[in-house]
């Protein structure tokens, strides 16, 4: 347990010193508040820079709070996830590359503690960012569009946090198993390309981890089917467990590939 706390402290400090705890939440807040503001001023923006012909008229769709939350989630799912994956994909492999790992691996360390500490710190950065981003998005949505039931909003946020735990488990496990460029590629293919594929042909099935954020959004407009939600939820939790085990296994196995 003492070893685990030390590793946790090390990862925590590293995330602060590389400013990850500051800039990733700020990026998420920016992503979150851009959509409500952009849509609110859309007519003005089109008038000012749209180069529209004289007498041009558009019908602006009447947006509800749920549409804005969906737009913000879309931003988090693309740019937000790329930022998170790119900044934590080197957590094991960079250490092996630049020699920090040699200082650790010569001691009798527990790889379980090491992996869990890395995963927990990466996930807490992700979760803090998601909460900050959704808080910003929610603030402007309530201000400009209308209210959302706080309990439903919390349910959506909680669901999204489980999805982020899954993403970070995949990222850290791949970082433990491969070198940085390969780990980045595999994680981005698994998470981002996977989401795209799931959104294109996902109509044929209902239970994949990629659908978790969509189901989270459905809490807000009350169209969620609880049985499907729970099976997705349990599938995601078990996949998190699998990836944690795989990550611990590979972090032990790849310890010998460290450069001296």
């Amino acid at each position: 347990m003492g070893q685990f706390n030390t590793f946790l402290l090390k990862e925590w400090r590293e995330s602060w010193r590389s400013f990850k705890f500051i800039w990733i939440p700020i990026v998420f807040i920016l992503l979150g508040i851009t959509d409500p503001i952009l849509n609110y001023f859309m007519e003005d923006i089109l008038n000012a820079v749209g180069n529209m012909p004289e007498g041009f008229a558009t019908m602006m769709p009447e947006l509800h709070a749920i549409d804005l939350l969906a737009a913000s989630t879309g931003q988090f799912q693309s740019i937000g996830l790329i930022v998170l994956i790119a900044s934590y994909t080197g957590t094991f492999s960079k250490e092996r590359q630049n020699g920090t790992a040699t200082l650790l691996y010569v001691r009798p360390i527990s790889f379980t503690a090491m992996f869990l500490s890395k995963w927990i710190v990466a996930s807490s950065v992700a979760i803090v960012s998601a909460i900050a981003g959704y808080a910003g998005s929610m603030y402007y949505t309530v201000l400009l569009y209308g209210k959302v039931d706080p309990a439903r909003f919390m349910a959506m946020l909680g669901t999204y946090c489980i999805w982020l735990l899954f993403v970070m488990a995949v990222t850290v496990a791949m970082s433990a198993a491969f070198k940085t460029p390969i780990a980045t590629t595999i994680t981005i293919v698994l998470i981002l390309i996977g989401s795209v594929v799931d959104s294109i042909i996902g109509g044929f099935w209902t239970v994949t981890p990629y659908k978790l954020s969509t189901y989270g959004l459905r809490f807000v407009d009350e169209s969620v089917t609880m049985s499907i939600f729970w099976s997705t939820f349990i599938l995601t939790l078990s996949l998190i467990f699998v990836f944690v085990i795989v990550g611990i296994y590979f972090s032990k196995k790849r310890a010998s590939t460290v450069k001296v």
Partner: protein, 66 residues
Amino acid sequence: MEELANINWALIAPLIILQFILALVVIVDISCNGATNGPKWLWIIVALFVSTIGPILYFIFGRKSQ
């Protein structure tokens, strides 16, 4: 100038302030850290003038961890 006064600054101010903080974090990081991938002045210009994406690019590609 009249158009500038008509803008609802209370709505847009947080956006500008956050961009500014993000650029500031990049500049602090560049001045504290020893080395970057590529020239330092270029990253400062990118962080200041490319909004949001500029600082992200710096932290992902420009930062060298010791």
